[in-house]
Symmetry: D2
Subunit: 431 residues, 4 copies
Amino acid sequence: MANGFPIDGQLIERLNEGALGALEDDYASLGRQLARRGIDVETIRSRVAAFSVAVPSWGTGRGGTRFARFPLAGEPTGILEKLEDCAVVQQLCRITPRVSPHFPWDKVSDYAGLREVAASLGLGFDAVNSNTFQDQPGQKHSYATGSLTSTDPAVREQAVAHNIECIDIGRALGVRDLTVWIGDGTNFPGQQDLGRSFDRYLDSAAQIYAALPDGWRMLIEHKMFEPAFYSTVIADWGSSILAAQHLGPKARCLVDLGHHAPNVNIEQIVARLHRFGKLGGFHFNDSSYGDDDLDSGSVNPHRLFLVFNELLEAERNPRDGFDPAYMIDQSHNVTDPIESLLSSAEAIATAFAKALLVDRDMLKTAQEENDVMAAFQALRTAYRTDVSPILAMARVGAGGAADPIATYRASGWRTAMAARRRPAGSTAGIV
Amino acid sequence: MANGFPIDGQLIERLNEGALGALEDDYASLGRQLARRGIDVETIRSRVAAFSVAVPSWGTGRGGTRFARFPLAGEPTGILEKLEDCAVVQQLCRITPRVSPHFPWDKVSDYAGLREVAASLGLGFDAVNSNTFQDQPGQKHSYATGSLTSTDPAVREQAVAHNIECIDIGRALGVRDLTVWIGDGTNFPGQQDLGRSFDRYLDSAAQIYAALPDGWRMLIEHKMFEPAFYSTVIADWGSSILAAQHLGPKARCLVDLGHHAPNVNIEQIVARLHRFGKLGGFHFNDSSYGDDDLDSGSVNPHRLFLVFNELLEAERNPRDGFDPAYMIDQSHNVTDPIESLLSSAEAIATAFAKALLVDRDMLKTAQEENDVMAAFQALRTAYRTDVSPILAMARVGAGGAADPIATYRASGWRTAMAARRRPAGSTAGIV
Amino acid sequence: MANGFPIDGQLIERLNEGALGALEDDYASLGRQLARRGIDVETIRSRVAAFSVAVPSWGTGRGGTRFARFPLAGEPTGILEKLEDCAVVQQLCRITPRVSPHFPWDKVSDYAGLREVAASLGLGFDAVNSNTFQDQPGQKHSYATGSLTSTDPAVREQAVAHNIECIDIGRALGVRDLTVWIGDGTNFPGQQDLGRSFDRYLDSAAQIYAALPDGWRMLIEHKMFEPAFYSTVIADWGSSILAAQHLGPKARCLVDLGHHAPNVNIEQIVARLHRFGKLGGFHFNDSSYGDDDLDSGSVNPHRLFLVFNELLEAERNPRDGFDPAYMIDQSHNVTDPIESLLSSAEAIATAFAKALLVDRDMLKTAQEENDVMAAFQALRTAYRTDVSPILAMARVGAGGAADPIATYRASGWRTAMAARRRPAGSTAGIV
Amino acid sequence: MANGFPIDGQLIERLNEGALGALEDDYASLGRQLARRGIDVETIRSRVAAFSVAVPSWGTGRGGTRFARFPLAGEPTGILEKLEDCAVVQQLCRITPRVSPHFPWDKVSDYAGLREVAASLGLGFDAVNSNTFQDQPGQKHSYATGSLTSTDPAVREQAVAHNIECIDIGRALGVRDLTVWIGDGTNFPGQQDLGRSFDRYLDSAAQIYAALPDGWRMLIEHKMFEPAFYSTVIADWGSSILAAQHLGPKARCLVDLGHHAPNVNIEQIVARLHRFGKLGGFHFNDSSYGDDDLDSGSVNPHRLFLVFNELLEAERNPRDGFDPAYMIDQSHNVTDPIESLLSSAEAIATAFAKALLVDRDMLKTAQEENDVMAAFQALRTAYRTDVSPILAMARVGAGGAADPIATYRASGWRTAMAARRRPAGSTAGIV
């Protein structure tokens, strides 16, 4: 039910009309260029129009670091306000129709009702995220010693039960994926036994796995470091895939672009996970140093393209039901989160569209013949192409904005919200 | 006035007595071994006894990450309680006689009074740390756009004024160093002009510099990343030393062991800063990934030794009044902070003592003759030596504990404080 | 004298004719798009046409690693053959009119004659590169203990003399820059004194500096590691700029994109060096792990764009005669070096052209107003643009090839050379 | 047959006699200290005496980089001279009784004869290393396109056949392990398909695996980068273990300490590989930047200790026949290789001995109780101990030298060899 979209549809239409002449010229020019390369621009447009990526409910608020968080006037403070902002994003870009919730942050008393509210805003729900890295007020056991891997059985039970509760909520919300990220690890050599910690992880995860309904998946997310700074139990894709293999076919690996060691070739990790049928999903963001949670494609857009190049290769060579869950997962510390989500959705769709332009027959031939320069140029020719007219056309065709950020700014949404919503606090950290 | 030390002196004496027999055997054995190497163990002991390192007031509380902070029952929540805990540390290890305060965290109405309280606990004060990376309640301008480098002149003025206020406080506390670390930087390419930001830094810093009393130093602390994740204005030792040279002789560089790019040779940075007369001080900690703020020497004790090896070389070849300020700067996320400070002070003094054992004539000869293995072995022989008997003897001789952590545990300090002190919150982030 | 270009000009013309229709359509479309953004495409084209970057003589041969080198049939084995290949590159792309020689690799008996040969091929010479990291047959002293920093005065004298000889050769070749890179460093803690090594560097470098003719510059190139693996004397930009400041105004810093620590923000280093009037030149390449010497822009083209963004900012805010020397410096281990040089020259010019498209007024306004998203989009809009029609038009206008690699392949150059030239060896390492 | 040891036994005896007094004092002191900690020094000594690590035949020669190699007068140039040098190492340190050969570098016509020569020098053979990363004179197909993963079936067949030939040689030499490291990978995005390359690896490796005799193991060695600089087929432990699982129980993973991404926690990788029964062996060295091949423990001796801590945990909790192969694998670019091997063997045995001193009951209890500081101190107390008297006593007891390097220098071995052996070349690269 897109009726409930928050931004005035007439504003979008009016701004689109003003942009259409230039857009059609650019689109037609690109169409001629692609036709000369044997590519039908309409085919690409329809693929882009069918593409989507989820947004995280918490991504609509300002993020922060351990040092500080600088709140934004008008940012949302509850799940209902967060859904409104997600609806703004989806209304303008039309490729973010689903919201990924996080518990207990998004806890409500009536999940059927929440699902209806979302639907009325044109939104559905995506993978449920559990949280066992923070203590909540009134919580029985602290996660100070870890969660799924704590040496304390009561803590592990509590963490398992929370994940199972997340599954239950997810069923009510129409979701089929549970994403499990834990911060468990150590800050000192010797703090925990590296082997037994992993064994405890497997035991706890198996209990969660056993509670998965048919058709559900458990997405295991690894992260090199932070909050633990000496060792982390699920630190790398190797630990992740071994756990997923141990658990069974419903367990898959989730790749977050910011959770790797420096210099690592992430696109090859994508290829490896797919080779063994365990590529389950993606958290998109960008980073220079660690889990910086910068906006997708803002620092290294070429890496994003190379990742999508692997995803399209995977699509052409499917294994074990290749169907990855895509989500934006960023920390919007210095921008209006809606603008960052719009810009990031565009960056992600851009990488996808460029990967679609790769001449895969030429690429494969060049690879078989060890014609290195030709193989590289097959990728580079696609990457070099400015696909923004295709994305804009797809958006406009779906009812979105030709220029989403300009339209958002013209709508005055944030100012209106600043007048209406209660202020968020300036506590350090994520919320 | 050490009269006011918090722990019962008789407990210390009793435990020391129990340990003395073994300690004397170990110390005598080591003395014979060193004598065979031409080293007088008493000389080393007296150097160790004269060594000291400051502790940060905030280091007495539990630290955290952006994800969570797990409070410790009995941790201090105000500067007076923090001083008590620092006094416990000093009483037991006798090499941490000074506390480095942080403002506005340690703000009080009467600094002369605060100085007296500290003195009554056997403590003095060390370098003052300013804070322009967080907004404080009631603050006129936000640091959301940066502080000393903000494009907004009013913000810069406020940040400069805060630093000058810190100098004033420092004078009242008997301090002579101001440490300036700013988090200013960007999360997006283009967010700020990289050149003009640095110009603004130099302008603002010059105003602070101009307010330094005679005999004071301004210690510039660089940090590669966090809270900014694309660029940081004072990101590396190159930016730091150029700023220090620009400002004048009172400006020096401060090296924090956790603030460097991966793989960087920190001991060579020490040598470079010293070569140009700009090595002003150290923040000790350890790290594997970034500014992890792990306990000093816990992950890489050999690096700590190599740093002290350079510091002793610098001491032998002084330039421009070599007199570095040493401080522990760690985040105690999973331990009792008093235990971490005791363990870290021991690790730092260990590195210092081992560096004292290097046969510098043999080392220099081997270097001149390009006898690589002999040069390396000159360092390795020193590093291999177990200097803990020397440290323990120096401690006992100064009235401290033979085994500081065991003595601390026997004192029941934390349990007593948990009964007496109000609980700290579990907000994420540093405090 | 371009008359001597190696490739048949008629072939180029014929292939260009076939490409011209499509090119003109793309160029006109882009011109309309840029006009809507307030940019005159012809202005950009003329800037691109005036841009140039030097190629290294040794870059025309196959490179290798310590493990192996796989020779290419027809690769050049002497400076005359290398010049021929450079002429092919210049003939086709028209932005590489100068060759950077390396001694003693390019030693000949008659440099005036060499200069004439180059001129007859349409080429001039660029910065001279000295080599004190390898021993040459018949050399009096070995560089096993280092070169400019060796503890052995005779070795230092030999290394200084070699650099001065390079200056003499450079004068004969019409060059005005000497690039000095040394591999000096250590593989063990303690192997050399980190401070005294730097002092010896300054002493030796001062002797070379004193020999610089008027109008000459000494470009100091730093490198984090390799061939030394524990410490390197000129390891970072900080060491480089301090040395350049010590030496005097003719000394400048040269930035090689692959010589930095992981995660370092290289564009900010550019800004810092420029701020202090010491940015002297660039070695372009790409890398993922270390000094990988991959083709420029092949792994991270966005970083190349961000570097050029700083260079254009520097050009707009010149200090101390900003006039950087640009050179490609790559190791062509798996491609035909001519193809890699053509592809890399294109990548570099692409980054330059995109940086020219940045709306710098909008960027500066957004920065001043802390409109982070607008500032980022000012860069992103420029980066997104496909400037290849501009580059192709500039090339064709200058007599080059619309599609340089395709034209090169059509020319059969390498096959002809394979028949004519003597084979190169398969020794590991660079040559 | 140790009769054939190269160094004069009387020299060793004489020097040992001079050292014995001091050694006995140190050993007795340490014995008393350990007894107070509940540890029997004799038990540790006997464990150390039973420890051994292989040396690589090629490690006896000077290594180099792609830039240069500086030969050492008297270094060995053939397998017979290399065995002599290995015998010197073993004679002096007594923990390196086996030599790991590399083919075709160590090719001879009579392997039974070679085995006898080795035995006469007191040596046996360890894991055979194959070489498909270099072309050899007369080789039919080049490895320019890779080896086990080349797109060319003839190249793959040749590489498989070479590995099978290595197995045959190994049988003749009394060996039971084949170590397979390939340099296959790419320097450009797109150069090869990341998925199909891995499939080809599995196919080729399965053919080698099928040729393994009973009781043999295939050790898969991963390496992050070099010689390939964009992607490497077997780049990480994840790829390695998935391949080992795919191949079968005889396939195990080999960990080289220098082959990982920056900041990676290697000791946890050891724990993970062991958890799944796939830890097959180790290549010891040290590194700061990449595969620097520095001397074991020279830069980070604590990491070596933490690795051995995991190995002892693995030994206490064996899975699937835990029996790792240990080898030193370093590049001796600046030292006499014999001295480096002696120093490194000492560093490795030191780490092993310190790990034996860990109070594992106390450690486990502290871990179970989440007493982080106590757990850390359990490791630190062991690491702090100077175990060199134990190592020296074990050496002397086995007939080795109390001070191996001093004894080696006193023997005049290298000078004698310089007079006798033909000089090695100064070609760049490894040999």
